[in-house]
């Protein structure tokens, strides 16, 4: 049974193959069952692994690339980090597959959807299981592909296609950084492979490399890769657009799993990043900047999924902030709790959208709490969790991050709290506008309002329980807990001791004060949101009536327009130049003129063919004589 590990990614792949090849002819119930069942089995295997596996285990399958210059074994690494990630991926993935069987039931591309979703899980598992950077990169690219396929799932809508292309292209920019980082890594370690064992071993035994240009460049390039995948400034613009995909996709790929790949990559490479303090500082700054920037945009969005998208970008910013101050396990803890409550929020939003017949504008919602009681309750739990109300999972993970940040830099802590206040405000704005007050949609919509079927509410309930209980998995010492997740993950980190030792210098009373400050501020934000939107009378105005600074923020600070003007337009101009001038005129002209020269000259040359037999013979004789003479001269 040693190699049952390989079945974990293989099961979703099997689901992809069956559904992708045969799904069109199978009834929807079977397609959905296959898709979900492979996930359930994979999840069971991961749970089994979680209870039986100890330490770091390498599972070698075969030699993928084997040359003197590059050796890439197809090898999996099972350690606490990859098991934690796998639990999130297959656990949340199973719930979302189950949810999708109901949510996507009316869709004609049902089998295609499940095939893509299974393929995504396969690549995501490859990403976290790989025992070297190349396997990670294969998964990395694979999830990007599936993200593209699923964002553009409704490909008949050109806007959705554009969103899919944007996500793919922006990710490519980051991937280039990742790739260059890998090349530089091979160069720096002077080895012919990128196995974690070798790479980390090299850097552990060469600690004099701390802070040198090489390690800073490597980590910065890897971080650029992470900013692409995990939607950080400056490459975050694709994530809000990615909401074009079906809502469960947004929950699975663009909230719970794929976008955390960047964080996983940095946590996995913590040996390298600990050696580059400059990079860590940049990560912390970018993280907090993204957290604040995205939160301000979230304040004024009116599309239920856009609000959640910006909140995802913002929460990812918090995770990077945690990584930037060296709190790797707290960052991963937030990845986990965020996977729970953000998947819950997205699925809740999906339930609302399902009930509203694909209406996503919160200005025409309102008063849904009575019609959708389960969705309402679970959504409230998710909102409380993301806002950071004590007792809910988001509070514990956010608090852990903020405590680490405070001892690193009180300024960053202050900014983090400001972001948390904004998060609480826009999430409760969303909640009040959607579920409180009176219904503002059409009569027809009101008539059709209904609670979603069990296949959709069951995942909501499970995720709601996890959103409450998830925080207790890593209850900090200050609460009398024993930080189970931190302890579990400890073997993954090389130099956690310094940081852990330091945080314990932070006295419990300081921690309590920090918590009290942030919780107080968050409560104030919620009360403010209630006074603004609780009655349901103060509805955000229509798009064309927005003005002033609000308009700038509503239009996402015109960042898309800026990128369009600075990068896309010049590239377009360049490629138009290349097409019209270089290709059509110069290269085509050259090739065509060769043809013309031959054509014209042959018109003259063909006149030699007189048809006169004696002339031919004469030429033949002359030719023979010349050949003979030539032969003589050569000798």
């Amino acid at each position: 049974m040693a190699n049952y590990i390989f079945f974990i990614p293989l099961l979703p792949l099997l689901g992809f193959i069956i559904n992708g090849l045969l799904g069109k002819k199978m009834p929807k119930s079977i397609v959905g069952t296959i898709g979900t069942l492979t996930m359930v089995l994979a999840f069971s295997l991961v749970v089994y692994t979680f209870f039986t596996s100890e330490g770091q285990n390498y599972h070698f399958l075969y030699s993928f690339i084997d040359t003197p210059y590059l050796k890439v074994p197809f090898e999996f690494l099972v350690d606490p980090l990859s098991i934690t990630m796998m639990l999130i991926i297959t656990g949340v993935g199973t719930l979302i597959h189950l949810y999708s069987t109901a949510y996507m039931h009316e869709d004609e591309g049902f089998y295609r959807y499940f095939a893509y979703l299974n393929l995504f899980v396969f690549f995501m598992l490859l990403l976290v299981l790989g025992a070297n950077y190349v396997i990670m990169f294969i998964g990395w690219e694979g999830v990007g592909l599936c993200s593209y396929l699923l964002i553009g799932f409704w490909f008949k809508n050109q806007n959705y296609n554009d969103a899919a292309k944007k996500a793919f292209i922006v990710n490519r920019v980051g991937d280039l950084g990742f790739l260059l980082g890998m090349f530089l890594l091979m160069d720096a370690t002077k080895s012919n492979n990128l196995d974690y064992k070798e790479v980390f071993g090299f850097f552990k035994s060469n600690s004099e490399i701390v802070g040198t240009g090489t390690i800073t460049a490597i980590t910065l390039l890897l971080f650029i890769g992470a900013t692409g995948k995990s939607a950080q400034i400056p490459l975050y613009t694709w994530l809000p657009d990615a909401m074009a995909g079906p809502t469960p996709v947004s929950a699975l790929i663009h909230a719970a799993t794929m976008v955390t790949a960047g964080i996983y990559m940095i946590v996995r490479s913590n040996v390298l990043f600990m050696l580059a303090p400059d990079t860590l500082l940049i990560i912390a700054i970018i993280g907090v900047a993204t957290a604040l920037f995205a939160a301000t945009i979230g304040l004024f969005q009116n599309d239920i999924k856009k609000v959640l998208a910006y909140s995802t970008v913002s929460q990812l910013g918090y995770m990077f902030l945690a990584l930037g101050v060296g709190a790797f396990s707290s960052g991963l803890f937030h990845v986990m709790t965020h996977a729970f409550f953000k998947a819950l929020l997205f699925l809740g939003a999906g339930s609302v959208i399902h009930a509203m017949h694909h209406e996503q504008d919160i200005r025409v919602m309102g008063g849904l709490s009575k019609k959708l009681p389960i969705t309402h309750l679970t959504f409230l739990i998710g909102t409380l969790a993301i806002a950071g109300i004590p007792g809910f999972s988001g509070f514990f993970s956010k608090d852990a991050i903020l405590a680490f940040v405070f001892q690193s830099s009180p300024v960053l802590w202050g900014l983090g709290v400001v972001g948390a206040i904004m998060t609480a405000f826009y999430m409760f704005r969303l909640y009040f506008l959607t579920f409180w007050g009176k219904f503002r949609g059409t009569h027809e919509q009101e008539h059709h309002l209904h609670e979603s079927p069990l296949a959709m509410t069951l995942p909501l309930i499970i995720l709601a329980v996890l959103s409450i209980g998830g925080g207790f998995l890593n209850l900090g010492e200050v609460f009398g807990g024993s930080a189970l997740l931190d302890k579990y993950l400890e073997p993954v980190f090389v130099v956690p001791t310094n940081y852990h030792a330091e945080v314990h210098h932070l006295s419990h009373s300081t921690e309590w004060i920090l918590m009290a400050v942030s919780v107080g501020a968050i409560l104030a934000a919620i009360i403010f949101a209630y006074t603004q939107y609780g009655s349901g009378k103060n509805v955000p105005v229509a798009d064309d009536k927005i003005s002033g600074i609000q308009k700038v923020i509503y239009n996402k600070y015109y960042v898309d327009e800026l990128y369009d003007a600075v990068i896309v337009k010049p590239l377009y101009a360049l490629s138009t130049f290349g097409h019209r001038i270089l290709d059509n005129t110069i290269i085509d002209g050259l090739v065509n003129s060769f043809g013309k020269v031959v054509y014209v000259s042959s018109d003259y040359v063909r006149r030699i063919q007189t048809g006169n037999t004696s002339f031919y013979i004469l030429l033949m004789v002359i030719g023979s004589v010349v050949l003979l003479a030539f032969n003589l001269v050569i000798k």
Partner: protein, 106 residues
């Protein structure tokens, strides 16, 4: 015993062959009657045959004479085809002038 061929010096064979070959070439180039051109080609072939057998005898190697037989066989086949063409040419044009073949030009 020496071969009869060796009673005559080798150079004489070469001169004779060269003369016959040159006559053949000139005939092919100057004459317009297809049959005469044909005969001139036969002259060239036979001059080469003569030379081959002479060299063969002088160098004591039978291969040259074997070649002569091959050439004769091939020439016979060639004559059969060539005469057939000339007969058809005559039937179609009432002439055996090789310049008539100009008409075959595109």
């Amino acid at each position: 015993m020496d071969s009869v061929i060796k009673l005559i010096p080798l150079n004489n064979y070469i001169y004779l062959s060269f003369a016959i070959f040159a006559i053949g070439v000139l005939g092919v180039l100057t004459r317009r009657n297809a049959i005469v051109v044909f005969m001139s080609i036969e002259l060239m072939l036979n001059s080469v045959n003569l030379l081959l057998s002479a060299f063969s005898a002088y160098s004591g190697d039978g291969a040259g004479q074997v070649f002569v037989f091959f050439i004769m066989a091939v020439a016979a086949a060639e004559v059969a085809v060539g005469l057939a063409i000339i007969v058809l040419l005559f039937r179609n044009t009432n002439s055996v002038d090789i310049n008539v073949l100009k008409r075959l030009k595109w």
